[in-house]
């Protein structure tokens, strides 16, 4: 629902900038209200602000006047019908407004109109010229541009002749228009109508409704622009709050998705985790979610991040919704992390509050305020899941969206932790459903194996960087956080002692295998030696035989030659012809 409003706003703004000659407006100077109304209240016309008791109508009026003087140099007139001047001054002092001073400087005129039915007797015709005279006098004496009538409806209580009243009110509002003053008229909410006495009939240029709702014992103030003639306006209900700085309305998201991005990387504080995130850690200005079940070390991981940021000399703000600062410091000391020096140096500031202390919007505004004062470069919100207690999940989501947007617009690296309940079937789902707005999501989970409970960590997603897809074992000891490889084998992921056992087993296996191999090697050597010896013996034998045979061969050849010589000699001696000699020779060779 809130998502949809954002592009609408942007379209609207574009359209407005095209033909800016729309209705002249009178900026209120109230944070957020001018954004919703596209520049302020209709200039020179009355605006009706209605709502139930204690919704902040009067405060809105007073701030409109005070800011009119201090920011736009427009003097104003406050005519109260209910609150005594002393009370107005006192009440607005608590918001830091110096009404006294403004009155003394003739920038503000305060007129209290007392209407007491018991003191007034009506006989015959009358009109409300008295109020006109008073207003006119006040406006003229200051040159006022702004008027607040709070709450003119009191006249209906004090005076009985309703027909006269109605006619006079109509005349009054027309007169205010003629005077050209920008006016706020407050009215008590009626049953089924915007105001109890139907003031909306007379003031129809702009109607703003304030609401103060209590849901589950947590109150949230809301503002809605019911109508705004001749101008576009945000139509949603916008949460607002009244604190020591006055009124502030929080548009769901005042900025589009156009914030600058940094490609600078900052350490997570844990070396191995940096390695898992592409070797460098988070992006500056990104939003990081660490989710996990109870006791998986979310806060510890957050504290390491804080420590790393402080070491870099960057300011860090830690919003704790579960633990007190002292408790966090003590607990982190137990894992070898001392955050105290950073606090003392002013680099680290804790802000602990119970989530139920006030409504979501107040939390948001308080965070805005503190961030603006402290100007941190990194922020930790631990944990966001606790905020669910203070509102519906839609509200929490929209609030976190705005928070993330806010941090991004300021280039603040934000680390959120979220507790996922054990009953969840899937851990990869945060209760608040904020995962989609996070850039990096680390999941811590319990791995229960072999009667042991160990922690595992993995990177579920990390936009814009190559990251590890491995599950790592996450150890917290006296010396801090350690991330180790887990054993991944045929039996699944093994952690801690099982991993150690498995590793020992593997080591033993490896050793036996090595021994076996050595033995085999030796056997091979022996075999080779034996065979080589055999070869040598055979060669020797062969050589002996060869020598023998060559000798015999030589003797034989010599004998054959001798035989031929002898034959020739014999033939020569017998004088035999060559034929016989040739035949004899042939027969010998064929044999």
């Amino acid at each position: 629902m809130y998502f949809i409003s954002e592009p609408d706003d942007m379209i609207r703004k574009k359209a407005i900038t095209k033909n800016r000659i729309s209705l002249p407006k009178s900026p209120t100077g109230i944070k957020g209200l001018d954004e919703i109304t596209d520049g302020g209240l209709p200039k020179g016309r009355p605006t009706l602000v209605c709502g139930g008791a204690g919704c902040g109508k009067s405060m809105l009026g007073v701030e409109f006047l005070v800011r009119g003087v201090t920011e736009f140099n427009e003097p104003g007139v406050l005519m109260t019908f209910e609150e005594l001047p002393e009370d107005v001054i006192k009440n607005s002092r608590s918001l830091g407004f110096d009404i006294d001073g403004l009155i003394a400087r003739k920038k503000l005129f305060l007129d209290y109109v007392r209407v007491e039915r018991s003191e007034i007797q009506e006989t015959g015709e009358y009109d409300l010229e008295g109020i006109f005279v008073r207003l006119n006098y006040a406006i003229e004496s200051l040159g006022a541009k702004r008027v607040v009538l709070d709450t003119i409806e009191s006249l209906f209580v004090g005076l009985t002749n309703v027909s006269i009243l109605r006619a006079e009110l109509r005349r009054l509002f027309n007169w205010l228009k003629e005077k050209g003053v920008t006016a706020i008229i407050t009215g008590e909410k009626g049953e089924g109508t915007l105001t109890r006495n139907g003031l909306e009939e007379y003031v129809s240029d702009c109607v703003i409704m304030l609401d103060h709702r209590v849901i589950d014992q947590v109150s949230t103030r809301r503002l809605r622009v019911v109508k705004y003639r001749g101008s576009t306006h945000g139509t949603n209900e916008y949460p607002f709050l009244i604190n020591e700085n006055g009124f502030s309305v929080l548009p769901i998201s005042s900025l589009g998705l156009s914030h600058d991005v940094s490609s600078e990387r900052i350490s997570t504080g844990v070396e191995r985790l940096d390695a898992m995130l592409g070797g460098k850690g988070y992006y500056r200005g990104s939003s990081v979610l660490i989710s996990g079940t109870a006791g998986t070390g979310k806060s510890s991981l957050a504290s390491y991040f804080v420590d790393a940021a402080s070491r870099r000399g960057e300011r860090t703000l830690y919003f704790a919704f579960e633990e007190s600062p002292q408790q966090i410091i003590r607990n982190m000391r137990s894992i070898g992390l001392n955050l105290e020096p950073w606090v003392k140096k002013g680099l680290l500031q804790f802000h602990s509050s119970r989530p139920t202390l006030y409504g979501l919007e107040t939390h948001l505004a308080v965070m805005h305020k503190i961030v603006k004062e402290f100007q941190p470069r990194a922020v930790v919100v631990d944990p966001i899941s606790n905020l669910i207690n203070t509102g519906s999940s839609t509200e929490v989501r929209s609030m976190l969206l705005r928070l993330v947007d806010f941090f991004k617009s300021k280039q603040i690296t934000a680390l959120f932790t979220s507790l996922t309940s054990l009953g969840d079937s899937t851990l990869e789902e945060t209760d608040i459903g904020v995962s989609s707005i996070m850039d990096t999501w680390l999941l811590l989970r319990d791995i229960e194996l072999g009667g042991e409970r160990n922690r595992g960590i993995y990177v579920l997603k990390s936009r814009g960087m190559a990251h590890s897809n491995q599950i790592r074992e996450f150890l917290i000891s006296n010396n801090g956080i350690d991330i180790r490889d887990v054993y991944v084998g045929p039996e699944g992921v093994l952690t801690c002692s099982m991993r150690l056992a498995q590793e020992a087993r593997e080591k033993a296996d490896k050793m036996t295998r090595e021994l076996e191999m050595e033995a085999k090697q030796r056997m091979l050597e022996r075999k080779r030696a034996a065979i080589e010896a055999q070869i040598a013996a055979m060669r020797a034998e062969f050589e002996g035989a060869e020598a023998e045979l060559t000798k015999e061969l030589k003797q034989e050849t010599a004998r054959v030659r001798q035989l031929q010589v002898d034959e020739l000699d014999m033939a020569r001696s017998r004088k035999a012809d060559r034929k016989t000699a040739g035949l004899n020779g042939e027969s010998r060779y064929s044999r």
Partner: protein
């Protein structure tokens, strides 16, 4: 306890009786009246005429009417908490009473001025 109750009862009686003497004293009291108008509008003129008649009839010689025109003295409207015009203020005798309107209803005006008894006397005459 009983004594206290008696005292309380006595006080109540005193209070009850004290109211009457005020009304009885009314005829002798001096009436300081102020009429607030804004210009010479028909309503203002009517109011003044009605008031004058009434005072002449019921408060002969015991009243003073001051007419304040808010057109010339606008700051008086704030000082005297004036909302409606015309407004008649009875400043004396105390307590201060306010009557708004053109005073055309004499009976109501008399009640407003705490002169209703005198009014009855008047009708008796």
């Amino acid at each position: 306890m009983k004594a206290k109750n008696k005292q309380a009862a006595g006080k109540a009686r005193e209070n009850g009786s004290s109211r009457k003497p005020v009304k009885r004293r009314d005829p002798d009291a001096h009436y300081d009246l102020r009429l607030y108008v804004a210009g010479q509008t028909p309503k203002s003129l009517a109011a003044f005429a009605n008031l004058k008649n009434l005072c002449d009839l019921h408060l002969t010689g015991k009243y003073k009417i001051e007419v304040i025109d808010l057109i010339s003295k606008p700051q008086r409207a704030r000082e005297d908490q004036i909302i409606a015009i015309p407004t008649l203020v009875r400043r004396l005798p105390e307590p201060v009473k306010k009557i708004i309107g053109d005073l055309c209803d004499t009976q109501k005006t008399l009640i407003g001025l705490d002169l209703s008894e005198a009014g009855r006397d008047g009708t008796d005459d």
